[in-house]
Symmetry: C2
Subunit: 430 residues, 2 copies
C-alpha cells in the first residue's frame, strides 16, 4: 500500500468539480487519493511538493486509442478509412511481434504521460493482446484495454481468427486483468467494427457482455462507405445494429459516430451510449466532422481520444481539445464548444465514459490522485485571464512538467520515470 | 558585415527547392547566405555546427500576424469577428502605450522564434507603429510591417484618426524603415479593412502604393457580415472593391478570403493577389473555412499566418500547418492538402507572398541563411518514414531547437538570444 502523505502546496487547481471551481489551494494526498483540499495544509512529517507557478489539472482521459498502431505513425498518409485499414493498418498489425508490440505500447504510453494523459481506453489488438496489458501494468498508466475481435470474411482476411478462439482468449484476459492493481486496469470487449465481425461473433459478444456485465468498446459510423456496407448487410443503420443485437443493454462505447441520423441519435440518447470523439482522425481520414454540439445538447456523453498515431499523427489530448473546439466554431459559430465545455470532455466526461467518474476526472476529495502539473508562464500562453482558454487554445503538451497516477509520479521535470525513453527512441528511430 | 564562415554538418535538409529534395548534406554559410550545399564541406578554419540528429528546414514565414495584439491573448473568447473587434480588440489596441506595445511585440517575436518562424508580415497598429519597427529591428526577425490605417466612421470610433495624418505618418515610416538592415525589414501600406477606411483613404492609399511601388496588406472577405456591409456601401463584393480602386495594380496581400464567389476568385487569379490564410482564426471566430484547395488549383498563391493571439490563441506555424491540412481533408477528402503542399505554403509560398522568394523560403545556394533546426527523435514524432507528414502532423513548436536569421543565431538550445524571456514573462504574468 502507498501510505506516505504528500502535500501539494500553492498550485492553481482547475478542479472540474460540479461548480467548476478554479482555486489556489493545497492538496493532501494519502494512499493514492486526494483526502483534503484546503489553504495551508499542515506539512509537518509529510512530503511536500511546491506547485507555485504550476497549474494543476485532473489527469486527462483519452477514451479511444490504439496502443498497437504507434509504430505506423507517419507512414499511412492521404487515404480514406477503408483503404487506410486494408493497405496500411491491417498488414502492419499482422506483422507485429510481441517485441514490436511492446515497443509500440511503450512509445504510446511515453507520449501519453509527456502530454498529461493518465487514463486511456485502448481498443487492443487481435494477436498477443496480453502484451498490451503487461505493458500497461508495468508503466503505471490507468487503462481499459481489450483483445480486438475480428473473425469476418466480410472485410479483412489478413488478421481474422476463429470466433470461438477470439472469445475464449477474451475471457482469459478478462480473468487475468479486469480490476488489476486496485482497479487501475480494466477489461472491455472489443469487436473492431461491425464489418470485421460475423453475426455469430457480434451476438456472442453481446451475450458475454451481458453475462459478465462488461463494457463494449468498438468503432461505429465513422465513414460513409462503412455505413453503406453495414446497411447493405443488415438493412439498418450501424447504430441500429447495436440496439438490434442487444449491445445497448451494457455500457456501450462507440468511437467516432460521425454520420448519424435522428433515429440513431435517439438510440444514443435512450441507452446512454458513450460517444468517443476523435477529431484529428475524423478530419485526417476525410471521414467528416461529428455533430458534437447536437449530441451535447441531447445530453449524450462525449469524450475525446487521439485514435491511432497513423491517422493523427500524435497522441496528444491538447491537439484533440483545440481541434474539437475549433471545428465546431467554424460550423456553428464562435459561441459553440467553449473552452470550459471542451475541458470537461477531456476530463470528467472521459471518466464518465469509462464508468470511472466516481474515481477520477476531477480534483475532489476522495478521488484518485491522477494529476497533471503544467507550467503556467510561457511566452506562448501568457497572459491568461481565461484559464480554460489558455488550457484549450494556448497550452501544449510540452507545458506538462509533472504527472502522477494513483499518487505515484510517472513524469517528473518531463522525465519519464517508468519508461526508458532513450532506449525506446534508439530502437525505433530511422 | 558578417564575414565569418559557418559549416552546418550532417543535418537532414528539407530543402523546398524546385525538386523538393530532402537530403543529408552539409551547408556552408557566409555573410548570412548559403553559399554551398554538398557532402563533406571542408571545415578547416571555419566554425562548425553539428546537426546530426536534427532536421534543418527553411525558416517559416507567417504572412499575416498582429504584433500589437498579443497581450490580449486568452481574453476575447467566443465572439464573432465584428463583436470581437468592437468589444475587445479596438479598446485594447487604443489602450496600448509605447511600453506595452513594445512588450507585446517582444512576446510575439519570442514566440515566433521559439516556434521556428523567422519571417513575418505584421499588419501594424494605428498609433506608435514606430515601436513595432524598432522592436523588429532589435530582435533580428525578418519582417514586413506597417502603420495600420483607420479613418472611417463606418466602423470603430475609438482609434480612428485623420486621413492626411495617417498617410503622412505612413510615408515617414516608409522612409525610415523600408529596406532597413540590408532588406531585412520592409514597409507595406495597411488599410485595416474596407470598413475602417473612408473612400478617400482607400483611394489615396492605392495612389501612394502605385507611386512608390509599395505592397498593400489588408483583411478581406473574412466574415459574412463584413461582406454584407461592404456590399451595401459599394454595391460590389469586397474583392471587387480592390479592383475598382486600383489596388490590383500593386502587390496586394489579402488576409482571409474565406467567402469569395467565382467572380472574386477570377480577380484573385488575374492579378496574382496573395491569399494569406489563417485557419485557426477563421475557425475560432466562427468565420468559416476558406476554399484553399480551389485557390491552389487556380494557381493562386496561398500562405499561412497565425493572425492575432486573441483569436488563435497561439502564434504557432505548426498549429496553422496541421489545421490547414486537416480542415480541407474533412471537406474534400484525405487526398487534398498533402503534407508536402502545406509545407510549401509555410515556406516558399510565404516568401513569394512577400516578394522575397529569391531571398528566402528554401534551402538553396544564394539564399539567405534563415534556418530552423528541429529535434528529430522524440516520442511524439517517431517513426518518420514520411518526413513531411512528420513536420505537418507530428512535430510541434517545442521540437525547434535552434533558429538563425541572416546567418545569425536568434535561438540556441531553445534559449532566445535577442530577447530577455524572463524579463518579459515577469512583466506580463498575472
Amino acid at each position: 500500500m502507498k501510505k506516505k502523505s504528500l502535500v501539494v502546496k500553492n498550485g492553481l487547481l482547475v478542479t472540474v468539480n460540479p461548480q467548476m471551481e478554479i482555486l489556489k489551494a493545497d492538496l493532501l494526498i494519502e494512499n493514492g487519493r486526494i483526502v483534503s483540499i484546503a489553504p495551508d495544509i499542515d506539512s509537518t512529517n509529510r512530503d511536500v511538493f511546491y506547485a507555485d507557478d504550476l497549474i494543476v489539472v485532473p489527469g486527462f482521459v483519452q477514451t479511444h486509442v490504439h496502443l498497437a498502431q504507434t509504430l505506423f505513425r507517419n507512414s499511412a498518409e492521404d487515404l480514406p478509412l477503408l483503404d487506410w485499414l486494408e493497405q496500411k493498418i491491417w498488414p502492419g498489425e499482422a506483422s507485429l511481434t510481441p517485441e514490436t508490440l511492446r515497443l509500440s505500447a511503450l512509445l504510446s504510453i511515453g507520449e501519453f504521460f509527456k502530454g498529461g494523459t493518465t487514463t486511456i481506453q485502448d481498443i487492443g489488438i487481435v494477436k498477443n493482446a496480453h502484451v498490451l496489458f503487461e505493458t500497461i501494468a508495468e508503466t503505471g498508466i490507468r487503462a481499459v484495454s481489450s483483445k480486438m475481435l475480428m473473425d469476418s470474411g466480410d472485410g479483412p482476411q489478413i488478421i481474422i481468427e476463429d470466433t470461438d478462439q477470439a472469445l475464449t482468449e477474451s475471457l482469459e484476459l478478462l480473468q487475468r486483468w479486469h480490476g488489476y492493481d486496485n482497479g487501475r486496469i480494466n477489461y472491455a470487449l472489443a469487436p473492431r467494427f461491425v464489418l470485421s465481425c460475423s453475426n455469430q461473433l457480434l451476438k456472442e459478444t453481446a451475450e458475454l457482455a451481458k453475462k459478465y456485465h462488461l463494457a463494449v468498446h468498438t468503432h461505429a459510423s465513422e465513414n460513409k462507405k462503412e455505413i453503406e456496407l453495414v446497411k447493405k448487410r443488415f438493412g439498418m443503420s450501424n447504430i441500429q445494429v447495436f440496439e438490434y443485437l442487444g449491445f445497448t443493454e451494457v455500457s456501450l462505447r462507440l468511437a467516432h459516430c460521425v454520420w448519424t441520423d435522428e433515429a440513431d441519435r435517439q438510440i444514443l440518447q435512450k441507452y446512454d451510449i458513450k460517444v468517443l470523439h476523435c477529431p484529428s482522425a475524423n478530419l485526417k481520414l476525410g471521414s467528416g466532422i461529428a455533430p458534437i454540439p447536437d449530441y451535447l445538447q441531447r445530453g449524450i456523453n462525449v469524450s475525446l481520444g487521439a485514435d491511432g498515431a497513423p491517422c493523427n499523427n500524435n497522441l496528444s489530448i491538447f491537439m484533440e481539445m483545440r481541434l474539437a473546439a475549433l471545428i465546431q466554431k467554424a460550423l456553428h459559430g464562435p459561441q459553440s464548444m467553449t473552452a470550459e465545455t471542451v475541458f470537461k470532455l477531456a476530463t470528467i466526461d472521459g471518466a464518465r465514459a469509462l464508468g470511472l467518474d466516481q474515481e477520477i476526472g476531477s480534483i475532489e476529495i476522495g478521488k484518485k490522485a491522477d494529476l497533471v502539473f503544467l507550467k503556467r508562464n510561457q511566452v506562448h500562453s501568457i497572459p491568461d485571464e481565461n484559464i480554460y482558454a489558455k488550457l484549450i487554445f494556448s497550452a501544449r503538451e510540452t507545458d506538462v512538467q509533472h504527472v502522477m497516477v494513483d499518487g505515484q509520479w510517472v513524469l517528473k521535470d518531463r522525465q519519464l520515470l517508468t519508461i526508458d525513453e532513450n532506449e525506446i527512441i534508439d530502437k525505433i528511430k530511422l
